[in-house]
């Protein structure tokens, strides 16, 4: 059982480029989340999905979009990257019975 996988592990991206961060879970969890982590600010929620076919905005959604075509996958897209999107991005899913969150290993993104 892999749990949650994220790809790529790290990426350096030129400003203005489009980028999709991938997240896949094999736990059949309904809820999934994308966070960004910046030094001194903790984790901030970007977007979430309570179940396949639905998505919602978190605390910092601007510049990001998500889709949830099926239960397992929850990609995060930066349509036109900007330097302020340099961060570590974590994907998570939660068990609907206990609401316990499980995190992926993260993607370190640098936008130059």
């Amino acid at each position: 059982i892999a749990g949650i996988t994220q790809a790529p592990t790290s990426q350096i991206l030129a400003a203005g480029r489009r980028m999709t961060l991938r997240c896949t879970q094999d736990m059949r969890h309904n809820a999934m989340y994308w966070y960004r982590q910046d030094l001194g600010l903790g984790l901030r929620l970007i977007h979430y999905s309570n179940t396949a076919g639905t998505t919602g905005k978190g605390e910092v959604p601007d510049g990001y979009s998500v889709s949830r075509a099926n239960t397992d996958d929850f990609p995060l897209t930066l349509a036109s990257a900007v330097p302020s999107q340099t961060s570590v991005y974590f994907c998570a899913s939660s068990d609907e019975y206990t609401d316990t969150q499980y995190f992926g290993p993260g993607t370190r993104l640098t936008v130059l």
Partner: protein, 108 residues
């Protein structure tokens, strides 16, 4: 949204010492979790504890929902306990909000 404050922001201990980390929140919650982020960045769920007390080995947590705080106790600390400890809460929207964390360094 719900405000989450964690204290202390930084903590330095000698191996074997005990510590208490605190999480205050501004509104009623139906979900509270404690996480440990190790020095390699991995986030691990420690407790799901919207109320009551739980224990897991040297770690225990207590949430007093009516007074809007939670405590994480670490006993007989080890160097492997180093990292950042986060509290995350959710209210009626079920959308999690994280505190800024407590950074713990345990010296041998």
């Amino acid at each position: 949204g719900i405000q989450v404050e964690q204290s202390p922001p930084d903590l330095i201990l000698q191996e074997g010492a005990n510590s208490t980390l605190r999480c205050n929140f501004s509104d009623s919650v139906n979900n509270l979790q404690w996480f440990h982020q190790n020095p390699w960045g991995q986030l691990i769920n420690l407790f799901y504890i919207p109320s009551g007390t739980k224990q897991n080995g040297r770690l225990s947590a207590t949430t007093v929902a009516t007074e809007r705080y939670s405590l994480l106790y670490i006993s007989s600390s080890q160097t492997t306990d180093s990292g950042v400890y986060f509290c995350a809460v959710a209210g009626g929207s079920y959308i999690p909000t994280f505190g800024r964390g407590t950074s713990l360094i345990v010296h041998p």
